[in-house]
Symmetry: C2
Subunit: 535 residues, 2 copies
């Protein structure tokens, strides 16, 4: 068993990521954005941490003692700084509330188990003392997944899994690694790199998100075309529940009944706490080649990606921006916008593999009218590919409301889905007469369909959180009506829960509820998330 | 909506497949086999259908009337021929019992719904009248999956799904087809071929197995390396349950919670009746190239397949026989056995794709010491690839007990797994002093592991069914102890049910039981299959 040498620190309490790292917008860009969106110059400054007022911990003394019994006093934290840092995730509404000084949903304590066994014992103790438990990995949820809701319980603890940080086993012949749930991606990659291996999972939350969180939310990374979605990499899972442990996954494939791993992948801490994940790992690529292309329009870009996916020749990563995203990204980078729609293509492997795959891919891109733009634009994408959330903080500082949402659907449904979602977002955010900007890109492709990722930017107004909630509701309705899934890789949490009945039907909701009752009869695990109450 | 032009007929009641089609072993081969295995010359002839004695149908008049109400009199069959033909599947124990005239597990009636709505109504009627329901597709189960067990009910009907035979929808842009559950593969392929498409699913049961059965059992075909397992082709499912309908699968990929499709894939009629399956379809290949190779030994063959799988360059189909299988197959075909181990490799696609992939594959095969044998041996494999079950009938006629079993495990577990299973099968079947033959091949490969498929041939003796049950139990124990899955593609049924607790743990069994209670509160669906009763 190995632990990582370098550990990634905690995130800022009211913003994304490393508190020492920020994106600064240059003044002319900020002016341009403000003018275009109609944002007033005066913006309320965020409430500093020193001025927060936190309710006292509601955890009872016996419950506190029981938790200390399991993990020791140093791992049951009730100090304000620890509680404030587990108040929720990193959606724009989360940040808006925290910037306004609202930390009312802080947990009553933060508990840090160091082993699977301790997680099991903590769940038993919390069940006994009727304490709600919210598993907390990287804290990067953008759907309310880690918000410490109490449900019907008097107190709630945040179960911080960061001490589960071991490489438990490595089977180089089978190409699998067993990783503990609390490892952040750079930590896991560091340990794999020592063996010349990689996981190949690069979501925007890369620096902070954890292995357990990826499994619990069915994450998808920017190189999903080459390495697959996270759920597709999972060979086995170890899950602690209030009713005991599940070890699922005995073979690369099986016909031994329903695949129960697929019940716990995407279970978002509601059905158990994932403590170990056995994943497929690969040889770290020797080389990489990024290229940018321009398509005459979004439709031709989508057609190209569809052909690549259906012919089985997708590159490691491919992303096509629509016209607006192409224009806005160029404007923010203060570089000239290419004609039509920008696409970024990335290949990983040996130099020879890259050359062969590039030849196959480039042929299809040209067939669909694309022209190469060289490597510079692609390099700019790579440099900034994890910085979106920092840019969001800078925009929020400027009084701009910005947020993203995503979906996936079959190829034949995509055009109408995109049109509807873009339309309702623009309409909702523009209802006050301002001019919101709404754009999207296609970034995860499969033989039968793809995902669309939308970004909005608008004047924040007096109540930006409410403004966004309304726009988000309209978009979610449009997605459900147009045959899309309510989420392709952000998961459900609180925010998508009202759409789960449309997604899986009332009987599907009953099935999930029955599973929940079996593994968590008292309902202490992550109340208020994922599974809706039937109307 | 389209229906197939050509329909495949029913199977023989006490043997595999087309009653007019049999494999004849030539006399010298039969003599050789008998001598080698120590089979006596006198063999009991099978009981003819005219001499069967069938219990009268136990279906009550009100229940019968309720079924007639839903589907009409012509689709509720109680005649002996119809009942006898749904007495069970096609495992060797099934055939041995039927050859001995045992049709005691015949259903009380055969009901043939024509629509999803009728299936729903039949389930409601059966629940009301407390009648057990066994969904019946192709009837090709080799694990007891379609045996009409009554459970705690007084009567049981076989729900024959063959009238659900429509191509419901075809989305050529997204590459998906919605097929009704009762279509046999050649019927589905005929309708897809009219659009230049194929499913690419070629299990040994190809001619008879149905689309719904493939989904309900997580089938895997001989070209799984190229086209994927059946469960991986499924985009959406429609399932009728006594509690209503589930429509699952909205997008090519989703993070909207647990993947409930994966609960009903592999549910073997225990959690519902799959009535429609939306599957990925592909352009029918323009060309094909089959080749045979010989490896110095099985280990080097396995290494080659592992490298191909991990490099992402598997051919459309690849299969490596061990030394004994290589020898026996050559002997049966009366052709000279190649040195070492035979491998068959098949590529499908355009001529150019085949040439490119062949170059990549051949390099790896040679790297592992393989030598090409030309196309003839491969063609012999292709000609006979669906005929195994007919050969089994001929061997049973000769007094030879023959049967197969399969598993899958990680690459690092495979050598020990193979050694253990071969060992215990040989030991168990040879306990009477005879000399059984046990061999295996590797036929489905994944980056993290592969499946092994074992065949045995032995003297039948006085009680061949019991002989096999004992050997099978020993093999199942060896599989569970060596880290394999109890089944890679034959499913669970009655035969693997005792091993399900080892496979998913007692809490996993409780989860399945809870799901079952939700969708089938009375437990009328396929009693005695898949989900074990906890000890």
């Amino acid at each position: 068993m190995t632990r990582p040498r370098h550990r990634v620190g905690e995130m800022a309490w009211n913003a994304w990521g490393d508190p020492g790292q920020t994106v600064r917008l240059n003044d002319s860009v900020r002016q341009l954005i403000r003018q275009a969106l109609g944002v007033p110059a005066a913006v309320t400054a965020p409430v500093p941490e020193s001025e927060l007022s936190l309710e006292p911990s509601a955890l009872s003394d016996p419950a506190h003692a029981a938790l200390v019994e399991v993990v020791g006093r140093e791992h049951v934290l009730t100090d304000p700084a620890s509680r404030v840092r587990r108040t929720g995730g990193k959606s724009t509404p989360d940040l808006l509330r925290r910037r306004a000084g609202d930390v009312s949903s802080a947990p009553d304590a933060v508990v840090r188990p160091g082993t699977h066994q301790e997680v099991e014992e903590l769940l038993a103790a919390c069940a006994w003392h009727r304490v709600a438990v919210v598993p907390f990995g990287g804290g990067t949820s953008v759907v309310g997944g880690v918000e410490p809701l109490r449900g019907s319980f008097g107190s709630v603890v945040s179960l911080d899994l960061r001490r589960l940080d071991r490489l438990v086993a490595l089977d180089t012949e089978s190409g699998t690694a067993t990783l503990e749930a609390g490892l952040r991606t750079p930590e896991a990659e560091e340990m794999l790199a020592a063996h010349g291996l990689t996981l190949g999972h690069f979501p925007q939350s890369f620096a902070y998100a954890t292995i357990g969180g990826y499994a619990a939310t069915r994450s998808s990374g920017q190189a999903s075309a080459g390495y697959g979605r996270f759920d597709a990499m999972v060979v086995a899972l170890r899950v602690a529940t209030p009713r005991g442990t599940l070890d699922l996954g005995r073979a690369p494939a099986s016909a031994a009944g329903p695949d129960l791993r697929q019940l716990f992948l995407g279970s978002e801490g509601v059905l158990g706490v994932i403590t170990e994940v056995t994943v497929r790992v690969r040889k770290a690529p020797e080389d990489r080649g990024d290229e940018a292309w321009s398509f005459p329009d979004f439709t031709s870009g989508v057609t190209a990606v569809r052909r690549l996916a259906q012919r089985g020749t997708l590159p490691t990563a491919i992303r096509v921006s629509d016209e607006t995203e192409t224009f806005v990204n160029a404007a923010v980078a203060a570089s000239p916008a290419p004609e039509g729609c920008l696409a970024v293509v990335s290949h990983e492997g040996t130099a020879r593999q890259i050359a062969e795959r590039r030849a196959a891919v480039d042929g299809v891109l040209r067939e669909c009218g694309a022209a190469p733009l060289g490597e510079d634009t692609a390099s700019a994408w790579r440099r900034s590919r994890f910085s979106g959330p920092y840019t969001r903080d800078a925009l929020l500082d400027t009084g701009v409301l910005t947020e993203t949402l995503e979906t996936a659907a079959s190829w034949s449904s995509l055009p109408r889905l995109r049109e509807r979602v873009t339309g309702v977002l623009t309409e909702s955010l523009g209802r006050d007469g301002s001019a919101p900007v709404v754009f999207c890109h296609l970034s995860h492709a499969y033989p039968t369909g793809a995902s669309l990722y939308f970004t909005v930017a608008a004047a924040g107004g007096a109540d930006p959180e409410r403004r966004w909630r309304e726009a988000k509701r309209a978009a979610s309705e449009a997605i459900a009506e147009s045959g899309g899934t309510i989420t392709h890789h952000h998961a459900v949490g609180t925010d998508h829960r009202p759409w789960m009945e449309a997604e899986i039907g009332p009987l599907g909701v009953e099935v999930l509820t029955a599973v929940k009752s079996t593994v968590d009869p008292l309902g202490i695990l992550n109340p208020g998330k994922l599974i809706p109450v039937l109307s």
